[in-house]
């Protein structure tokens, strides 16, 4: 293999403008966590986001599984980026991603049968999570191994964070517990709709409203207007 990509030595600069290498900064990592958060900002990967966040532990499992696939496929795509012909790249990425998803699927099956049962088909559906293919196409196919890994980790953690923030809200409101530990007393009346499908839409909508409101407030602050009413 001509391309061995050792992170330390750095790849040779090429004439191709699309091959612009990004230097490794803290931003490479942090971007995925906040500025370009896949769920809250880019609205990608909605299906698993809504479907498996009925409890915090499911959300965590899904987030970590996705992060693993993101890292594995990103690394392989980055290493093979000079070998994959442009015309068949999407198909190749999908096969690479599907391979890692199969690995995760079997791994979760072996580690925790309970988690496997509650996540169900959604583990295999990581294949069609747009975040992963999007990262492979937009980032991993152009960058060296190390930035890809760091960026993938940031994105994966950002995704996990978003899932957790949805999952914990839904679990606290819908079952009165967090990670399975009851938070309230005996007489807590669960808000059942929150763990059911509509709750997913409502909680995500509420988070987006909150972020939009915060953003609007920050932009308005110089004017010191009192028009910022609460829409939480």
């Amino acid at each position: 293999m001509a391309e061995t990509t050792q992170p330390g030595t750095g790849a040779k600069p090429t004439a191709d403008p699309f091959n612009r290498q990004e230097s490794l900064t803290a931003d490479t990592f942090l971007r995925g966590l906040w500025q370009e958060n896949p769920v809250f900002v880019m609205l990608l990967g909605m299906c698993p986001t809504l479907a498996v966040t009925n409890s915090a532990i499911n959300a965590l499992g899904m987030g970590l599984a996705t992060t693993f696939v993101l890292l594995g496929s990103g690394a392989l795509v980055s290493l093979l980026r000079h070998l994959i012909p442009k015309q068949v790249r999407i198909a190749s990425y999908i096969v690479i991603i599907a391979t890692f998803v199969t690995v995760v699927d079997y791994a979760i099956h072996a580690i925790s049968l309970e988690l496997y049962a509650s996540l169900g088909a959604f583990i295999q559906l990581i294949v069609v999570n747009c975040i992963i293919l999007g990262r492979a196409e937009a980032y991993a196919s152009k960058q060296r191994l190390l930035p890809t890994l760091v960026n993938g980790l940031g994105m994966g953690l950002g995704f996990t964070l978003a899932l957790l923030s949805l999952g914990s809200v839904r679990e606290i409101l819908g079952s009165g517990s967090l990670f399975g530990y009851p938070l309230f007393g005996e007489d807590f009346q669960p808000w059942l709709v929150m763990v059911l499908p509509p709750g997913g839409f409502f909680v995500l909508g509420a988070w987006l409203l909150l972020f939009a409101w915060l953003k609007q407030r920050r932009e308005r602050r110089p004017l010191a207007s009192a028009g910022a009413t609460s829409h939480g």
Partner: protein, 196 residues
């Protein structure tokens, strides 16, 4: 478990366990192409077609993989089937209706990564449906997807006329609407017996 009858499978996939509103599959095109009723209808039809084609093909491939004892390749094969089916639809639409091709835009090739389609193939395998049952299941799922898309498009067209606070414009409001729609569909739960 007794294998359910065909009308029950159809009803289950289309309404009770609606792919979009109850199982959260295919949310991206649901949010992306539901702004206008016409686009929604066309997108629904294209998705339904891909669903039926890939469901038939997935049934055949699954049978072959089990015969060859290669079940761990299932996921990769399914994805390949769906990608080819989408390509077929794309060529067809481009040839017969260029206007439709333009209006669907990027969402047509993105049907490949529509989890409703892969989900359908995976569910029918998990439920061990035979050929006829798979076919009806895919038809039901397609109908359900189209129904959800059309309802949403109707709501959003009305919403355009309403005055909203600026903060809630865009994705947040759409999600809230979807939540209400999903709440309405929960009324169908229990119709057609228990399922898991």
């Amino acid at each position: 478990m007794v294998s359910p009858s065909l009308p029950l499978i159809f009803l289950d996939a289309a309404v009770v366990n609606n792919f979009v509103l109850a199982l959260f599959l295919g949310i991206c095109p649901f949010l992306g192409t539901s702004a206008k009723k016409e686009t929604a209808l066309n997108m629904g039809l294209a998705t339904m077609f891909v669903m039926v084609v890939s469901s038939i093909a997935a049934y055949g491939v699954n049978w072959l993989l089990i015969a060859l004892d290669l079940e761990f390749l299932r996921l990769i094969c399914y994805i390949a089937i769906i990608a080819s089916a989408v390509h077929l639809v794309e060529m067809f639409v481009k040839k017969y209706s260029p206007a439709l091709f333009r209006s669907l835009g990027i969402f047509l090739p993105l049907i490949t990564t529509n989890c409703a389609i892969l989900g359908l193939a995976l569910f029918q395998t998990a439920k061990e449906y035979d050929f006829l049952q798979s076919l009806v299941y895919s038809l039901g799922a397609g109908t359900g997807f189209m129904l959800a898309l059309l309802l949403m498009a109707g709501l959003r067209e009305k919403l355009d006329l309403a005055r909203l606070p600026t903060v809630s414009q865009g994705a947040a409001m759409t999600l809230m609407l979807a939540g209400l729609l999903s709440l309405a569909f929960m009324g169908f739960a229990g119709l057609g017996g228990s399922h898991g």
